[in-house]
């Protein structure tokens, strides 16, 4: 029933005001139509029962039928065409019906006068508020004309009443329309805001879902074990790799306090303080190792901050370091074995050849002595190479340490001359040296390593110089810095090679490694030693003129020595 009514009332229009007015008109048409049908039935019944076709009965019947036809026409116009036209027609139609529904006396000044108030009021609702005045005017004209037709004076109070009513209806309809308009604007705005908010929320949800999915995929795919902790060190997340590395179910980690994992029996007792320290100190170490059962794990940690820079937790990464740790141990063992097992037999070869040379077991001829000398030299060369390799291995393992003790510069030079003079003179070169008089007699350094640097640089200089000489200078740059300069008059180093000269296992291209010998480790070791001493090394070189290595080191004077030697 309500569906049928709904269909009857429904009008297709987008303007809500128009829709509202046309719906009201439909309701009015339905009411008028219904009443007219009743009127027609009543008129017909009266004529049939009384068998008198009085003018009154006929008026009721025909009036009702005309009204029904009018209502149908207006309904069609209202639903198919225009609400305004239909409303105007309806109101005019009503006015005309009221005009002719009673005697002229009653219409112009009697009982039917108030009927005219109805179209005046309805015009304000169905058309525009101001149209009330139009119908007030129309009604005034009608009653005036009808009054005049029967010689009545125009009913001025009624006309004034119509206009007063029109004024009241105009006011109320206007404020109603204004209120409706405002309400509609508020509604539209509200709708827009709700739509926007809903969309933003949906986007943010989907972004978060994508982000969370991505993070989870990253966590699941990496080979390192990861635990995410909140601010109170409760694990909120752990990835499958962690399970594989620790070989324990994730359930005993996730949603548990980190301390429970630290106290796990598989974690070695000496590893626990490291993890507690990481927990308790705001600062996190760059990375350290722990022992978990048979495994060695490297641990890294990073704090997590929200967009207000507030710490909201920590991510800890565990990497299975067992293999690497094993390789390191093997390397260290290897270095130890090489250092002992290679040097011991070489020591024996050296010792025996020296004994020959020294004629310990009886006199030797010159050729035999020479041969013993050559055996010694070659053995020493071999030892030198082994020492270079061991030094390199030690530095790579970070095990090279620099001692700090008083070093007399004159002792350094004296020892250097003792070691190198012969190789220089064998090639016909001069080996000269000088000490800056501004330098103190002794300073803090590592005598053995300084000696090694000097021997490496001077050996190199002699190796690549064919005539002239090699000069060593100890200089004082300023109150904090002293330096060593080794210059030769050799073939020099091409500019393109300068950048690589300190690289491991590198010799200048074009020079035949075999003709000069060596692994190309000497300068690399020098550079690393200088680095360990907090110094710097620089190289200047000109082809066929020579090269100069300049090392600068921090100048520290032993207690009791004066900085300046005036």
């Amino acid at each position: 029933m309500s569906n049928i009514l709904q269909r009857f009332l429904t009008i297709s229009t987008t303007d809500p005001d128009d829709l509202r007015k046309r719906k009201i008109l439909n309701v009015l048409l339905a009411g008028t139509g219904g009443l007219s049908v009743l009127g027609a039935i009543t008129g017909a019944l009266l004529i049939i029962t009384s068998r008198q076709r009085t003018a009154e009965n006929l008026l009721i019947l025909w009036g009702s039928i005309i009204t029904i036809i009018g209502v149908l026409v207006i309904y069609v116009i209202n639903t198919r065409r225009s609400g305004k036209a239909a409303s105007s027609l309806f109101l005019i139609f009503m006015t005309l019906i009221f005009t002719f529904s009673d005697s002229a006396e009653q219409v112009s000044g009697g009982r039917s006068l108030f009927y005219f108030a109805i179209p005046v009021f309805m015009a304000s609702i169905l058309l525009t508020p101001a149209s009330s005045f139009v119908f007030a005017a129309l009604s005034s004209v009608i009653i005036a004309v009808i009054g005049l037709s029967i010689d009545f004076a125009p009913n001025t109070p009624a006309m004034i009443g119509f206009f007063l009513l029109a004024f009241v209806f105009w006011l109320s309809a206007r404020s109603l329309e204004q209120a409706l308009g405002e309400l509609r604007a508020i509604n539209i705005n509200l709708d827009r805001v709700v739509t926007e908010r809903t969309q933003a929320l949906a986007e943010s949800f989907s972004r978060e879902r994508i982000e969370a999915g991505r993070s989870q995929a990253i966590l699941n795919s990496i080979a390192d074990g990861v635990i995410v902790f909140d601010k109170k060190w409760t694990a909120t997340q752990a990835n499958p790799a962690l399970k594989a590395i620790l070989e324990i179910p994730l359930e005993i980690i996730v949603n548990k306090d980190f301390r429970e994992l630290i106290e796990h029996p598989r974690l070695s007792t000496k590893s626990r303080p490291l993890l507690y320290a990481m927990m308790n100190h705001g600062t996190q170490p760059i990375g350290f190792r722990i022992d978990w059962g048979e495994k060695t794990l490297s641990v890294g940690a990073a704090s997590v901050y929200d967009n207000q820079s507030q710490n909201i937790g920590t991510v800890i990464v565990f990497r299975d370091f067992t293999r690497e740790a094993e390789v390191e141990r093997m390397k260290s063992t290897f270095v130890g074995i090489v250092s002992h097992e290679l040097r011991t037999p070489l020591n024996a070869i050296l010792g025996y050849s020296e004994m020959f040379k020294e004629s310990v077991y009886g006199p030797m001829n010159e050729k035999q002595t020479n041969m013993a000398d050559r055996i010694m030299k070659n053995t020493q060369r071999l030892l030198g190479l082994i020492n270079d390799l061991l030094d390199q291995a030690q530095m790579e393992a970070g095990k090279m340490t620099i001692r700090t003790e008083a070093v007399r510069l004159s002792d350094l030079l004296e020892a250097l001359h003792g070691l190198m003079d012969k190789s220089a003179s064998d090639k016909g070169l001069r080996l000269t040296s000088e000490i800056d008089p501004l330098l103190p007699d002794a300073l803090i350094g590592d005598p053995a390593r300084l000696q090694q640097i000097l021997v490496n640089l001077v050996t190199n200089a002699i190796k690549f110089t064919d005539q002239g000489g090699v000069h060593i200078q100890f200089f004082r740059r300023n109150a904090e810095t002293w330096g060593i300069e080794v210059s030769d008059m050799g073939q020099g180093i091409p500019e393109s090679q300068l950048a690589f000269i300190f690289d491991t296992f590198r010799q200048v291209e074009g020079t035949d490694t075999r003709s000069h010998g060596g692994f190309g480790l000497g300068l690399s070791i020098v550079k690393q030693l200088v680095g360990l001493m907090n110094g710097q090394i620089k190289l200047k070189s000109e082809l066929n003129i020579g090269s100069t290595f300049t090392i600068t080191l921090p100048l520290i004077v032993p207690d009791g020595e004066s900085v300046l030697k005036e």
Binding site: G336, S339, H340, R343, T344, P345, L346, N347, A348, L350, G351, Y352, E354, M355, E358, V360, L383, Q394, K399, T401, R403, A448
Partner: protein, 123 residues
């Protein structure tokens, strides 16, 4: 009286070379090739003028022997030298002994060094 040198060294060749070097400057040489026999020898007998102790020894480590020698007042006038191929080890013990020699140790080097040594109680 001839001065006595105690060489504790498990490598036969090195022991031989050291012995020849010291013998050549008129020392009597006693050779011990493992930690245990060295410990037994050190428990009694003639107090040596110089002890040459290898830090890598079978049975008893050179480190343990060194502590025992240092703790025994009988050796207070004995020159104590350790020998090792490990430079780091030599540096670690440098302050505890008279000389820490890093292998390779040259025949002439050892001979000249010991030759210069005077009895400690005369210094």
């Amino acid at each position: 009286m001839n001065k006595l040198a105690l060489i504790i060294e498990d490598d036969e060749d090195l022991a031989n070379i050291f012995a020849e070097a010291l013998h050549g400057i008129g020392l009597e040489v006693e050779n011990l090739t493992d930690g245990e026999s060295a410990r037994q020898r050190l428990a009694g007998g003639e107090v040596p003028f110089v002890i040459l102790l290898d830090m890598h020894l079978p049975l008893v480590s050179g480190k343990d022997l060194l502590q025992e020698i240092k703790n025994d007042p009988r050796f207070s006038n004995t020159w104590l030298m350790i020998t090792t191929a490990d430079a780091r080890l030599a540096e670690d013990f440098r302050d505890q002994v008279d000389f820490a020699l890093i292998k390779p140790i040259l025949f002439g080097q050892l001979r000249d060094l010991v030759k210069r040594l005077k009895p400690k109680d005369e210094i």
